[in-house]
């Protein structure tokens, strides 16, 4: 009997042990080794020594900060664009999906069943200079003959947005689906009406600012996108968004917004496939540098330093996030 009791107390640890051991040996320890490796000196031919060369962090960051900054800007923009695209989609599925709910959810995750590389290569075909999208537009004369999308920052950001859109949409859907629809009805019964004129102003401000940033990053100049984005923002703020949405739906969707933006931003910042396949040498990201430093140049110390900085930046960001929304929420939200 006592033996059985002791077994009982040990049971959770016996179940945990093999899996957690695997994660400690092949996740935690390698992260620590990466830190040690960043403080090596030498090269692959003559061998490496542990020299604790802390200066490498300063050197690596000062040499590669444009790539780091670009990764954060591209990843951030892709996250915002994925939110702008994914929120109405998740909303429509959760609130108006009806009998098509499961079919629509299935279509949202269907891209996952196709190789990530093949999907990105498909975009190469679709965005080609006289391909599916640009070909007809050039034929009618809407776009000038020399206009291109492929090999521009726009294509990289669009590719990242596309690849992680399902990661954004699914948590948003889960959060919106949970909302008790009677709360929104109650808000409307209590005279929650349209959100104008504040909605119009907020729409213009957000649309204009986003258009400005996207336009600058994508090299289209400050106004090419900010004017249409501001108009779109005004229309959305005037007619589509009501007070019930601002006061009830949006606050209740916050856990989904947090989870979705994390699940999009983290892989987006580290991505290098989109930049490599859809971009140009001026639109490379920190992932491209890390990959090249490790696998092509075998400059392990610099590559490890950059990789460690990337990991640390994300962990610090996560820590702040966890402080804001609570650890349980954070680890639980990824379900």
């Amino acid at each position: 009997m006592r033996r059985a009791l002791r077994l009982r107390a040990a049971a959770p640890y016996l179940l945990l042990l093999p899996g957690l051991l695997w994660l400690v040996i092949f996740y935690v320890y390698p992260a620590f080794q990466m830190f040690l490796t960043s403080l090596w000196t030498g090269n692959l031919d003559t061998g490496y020594q542990q020299t604790w060369n802390w200066g490498i962090y300063g050197e690596a960051i000062s040499e590669y900060w444009p790539w780091l900054a670009r990764s954060i800007v591209y990843g951030g923009l892709a996250t915002i664009l994925a939110f702008a695209l994914g929120f109405p989609l998740a909303y429509a599925i959760a609130f108006r999906g009806g009998q098509y709910k499961n079919v629509l959810l299935f279509l949202v995750i269907a891209p996952f069943f196709t190789s990530f590389l093949l999907r990105t290569i498909s975009w190469k075909i679709i965005l080609a200079d006289s391909g599916l999208v640009l070909g007809p537009l050039k034929e009618i004369g809407i776009l000038p003959e020399e206009f291109r999308l492929l090999a521009t920052p726009a294509a990289v950001i669009a590719g990242i947005t596309y690849n992680f859109l399902p990661f954004m949409t699914l948590p948003l859907y889960v959060a919106l689906e949970k909302i008790d629809k009677r709360l929104i009805e109650a808000a409307e019964d209590l005279y929650a009406g349209p959100w104008r004129p504040q909605g119009t102003v907020v729409g213009v401000a957000i649309g204009g600012a986003l258009g400005l940033v996207v336009g600058l990053v994508m090299d289209y100049g400050p106004f090419a996108l900010s004017i249409p984005f501001a108009i779109a923002g005004a229309l959305v703020g005037t007619w589509l968004i009501g007070q019930a949405f601002i006061r009830v739906t949006l606050p209740l969707a916050l856990p989904g917004i947090f989870a979705g933006s994390l699940l999009t931003f983290i892989p987006a910042v580290g991505d290098f496939i989109n930049a490599e396949l859809l971009g140009n040498p001026q639109s490379l990201m920190i992932g491209n540098v890390i990959q090249a430093r490790y696998l092509k140049v075998t400059d392990y110390p610099t590559a490890s330093a950059l990789s460690f900085v990337l990991m640390l930046a994300i962990l610090i960001g996560l820590f702040i996030y966890a402080r804001l929304i609570g650890t349980e929420e954070l680890t639980g939200a990824s379900i």
Binding site: P12, S115, L118, S122, Q291
Partner: protein, 294 residues
Amino acid sequence: MATSSAALAARRTPADRVARAVDRWLLPVYVVGVTAYLILPVAVMILFSFNDPTGRSNLVWRGFSLDAWFNPVGRPGLGEAVRNSLVVAFLATLVATVLGTSIALALTRYQFRGRAATNVLIFLPMATPEIVLGASLLTMFVATADLPLPGGVLFPLNIRTVMIAHIMFCISFVVVTVKARLAHFPRNLEEAAMDLGANEWTTFWKVTFPLILPGIVAGALLAFSLSIDDYVVTAFTSGQTETFPLYIYGSQLRGIPVQVNVIGTIIFGTAVLLVLLTTFWQRRVAAREYGAGE
């Protein structure tokens, strides 16, 4: 009073009729548009698997042909790469599913110290960019290469290191999937089995396991799809071993053969079929469980 009548009047303005129309028409049109955007690259991939395979690359449409479909691995190295991918995916899924399910069971059915730390350890690999996962494993494999071991290098880069890496990043996803299933578990069924004289072992295999099996299968499917599609971590841990994603990446510089699209389409079709079958099966199990719970 003034505000309420204003609000009521506002509901009937032409502007609000616009809002109603937008609500009825714009949202469906938008949904169709965005899902089309999501599916378009998949459709292009499938379409180009029927391209005439005579050219050097598969970026331009040359005409309908079934040649690649009759000879899906007819390129040097492609068959080997696909076989490696399948072997890695099967074994990594098997191990990750066993390890992940055990952790999920421990987390949902026992109270123990260190639960919060366990949750964080499960969460972190999912919150680390793939390139960091791959890079840190590579630094460990490189650092252990100089250890004076009798058997030579501890982790020579080959299919085994790829499997180690894939198991590592699959475990967390299995835990999360199985845990979601266990959260709604009808514990009274287990108590009933124990009351009827079954011991813990029998109860687990006769009652618990059949009920959580759909969750385990869902976790395994997720692990399999993550493993078979992984490029980034594999690129860092594979050495000379080639997998299907590595083959695609390598050939995209020289020009991708049509056969790659054929295999991509087969993987897509299989995945869709498996997910549909599992969903159908899960519904049946859920219905039965509900009936039993009455």
